[in-house]
């Protein structure tokens, strides 16, 4: 089978982001999603550090140290953008005004729990940033991740073994193998993304039972 690459996963997420959506993209793969939103589709990107309407990366030499995103990378601002302080920014998140956030994860559970901030190792320096706020506050939480660990274990699990970031909040998972919805009654396969991967094979890799309404 042929798994999706990082940019292909990002492009797949981008397909599901409608015009007019207010979207927060996490650091790493989620940030790539911005590159795949069609130029004629207006999507308004939010960053935790107090900005709405993020535009493309600045050209080299045009960076402004006062204009960065939550990953501390230089960005630009679109016409129509705005600045605000941290409490207002997280008010937007916590108050349910962000339509979609896209997060990376170590694990996602069948009940929508997400673990993405801590490996669970005792001596690891913990760092959470805005992940718990986004998990708890965004209307929809999309997760992007590789489907399997390096050891071949599914990162979609019955119950997370890593420390949780949020409970019952993930609505959709995009992996290098598939797109899966998390609903009250469990996992629903939306589509298989890896070329040559059958439902039965995916089900076996996934561990947790997948529902699949084929021809819809």
């Amino acid at each position: 089978m042929k798994k999706l690459g990082r940019n292909q996963i990002a492009a797949r997420v981008a397909r599901d982001i409608p015009e007019g959506a207010y979207v927060n993209l996490g650091i790493g793969l989620p940030t790539l999603v911005a590159n795949h939103i069609p130029g004629d589709r207006e999507v308004i990107l939010h960053s935790e550090n107090g900005v709405l309407g993020i535009g493309p990366r600045p050209a080299p030499g045009r960076e402004d140290e006062d204009l960065i995103d939550a990953g501390k990378s230089p960005v630009t601002l679109l016409a129509g953008g705005s600045y605000f302080h941290h409490a207002d920014s997280f008010g937007m998140i916590r108050g349910g005004h962000i339509d979609i956030c896209v997060l990376g994860a170590f694990q996602v559970a069948a009940n929508g729990d997400i673990a993405n901030w801590h490996t669970g190792e005792a001596d690891a320096i913990p760092a959470v940033g805005g992940a718990m706020d986004l998990a708890a506050g965004a209307k929809q939480v999309f997760v992007t991740m590789e489907h399997l660990t390096k050891k071949g274990e599914s990162k979609i699990v019955e119950r997370c073994s890593y420390p949780l970031t949020g409970v019952g909040c993930v609505t959709r998972v995009y992996t290098d193998l598939a797109v899966i919805d998390i609903k009250a009654d469990g996992l629903h396969l939306v589509e298989i993304c890896a070329e040559g991967l059958s439902f039965e094979e995916l089900q076996k890799l996934n561990g947790v039972a997948l529902k699949y309404k084929a021809a819809v």
Partner: protein, 226 residues
Amino acid sequence: MIDKILDSPAAALAEVPDGATILIGGFGNAGMPSALLDALIAQGARNLTVVNNNAGNADAGLAALIAAKRVSKILCSFPRQTDSWHFDKAWRAGELELELVPQGTLAERLRAAGAGVGAFYTPTAFGTRLAEGKETRHINGRDYVLEYPIHGDYALIKADRADRWGNLAYRKTARNFGPIMAAAAKCTVAQVRQIVALGAIDPEHVVTPGIFVQRVVKVPALEGAA
């Protein structure tokens, strides 16, 4: 293309259902969305819960909504005015429930709704009649009252300028409840004096980012003053 601008107050309020909670901006005449209130009266929704600092003045706007018997409950801080006769009459007749809320608690409950805060402890009103029956708590040497958010189905507010993304800038003390009501409602409708091009409001000066605004209607100053 995102375009939150609608043609008329009537179009912006067409779907308001009976029983809706309506947050109405303004403090005195400053920031009062008169054209939206006129449209709400014409639209006909009944059994409304209304949130405003006052309870209507003279015979127009919120007072007219009350006179038309559309309001079943009002949350406000200061209903009694020399010209609040429509409220006074309806309240004395028992046609309308009043929840009296200290002004700062009203503001903070709206802010909590917009910011996803489930409840908060405020020192305001502790030990008074307005805290009777409410949960209290002693925190770090002070006494507080537990208060809950006020969510709106609609917010009707007035701003000075808007762009097609719904970014708003206000004028002087007409800002008052606008920004916090915008964030506290599912559907915020802003009556503005002027529509400007995207980017014409400096990003440093946007007071209400468009994320909190669903609909914008231009109402020229003369009409707004009606």
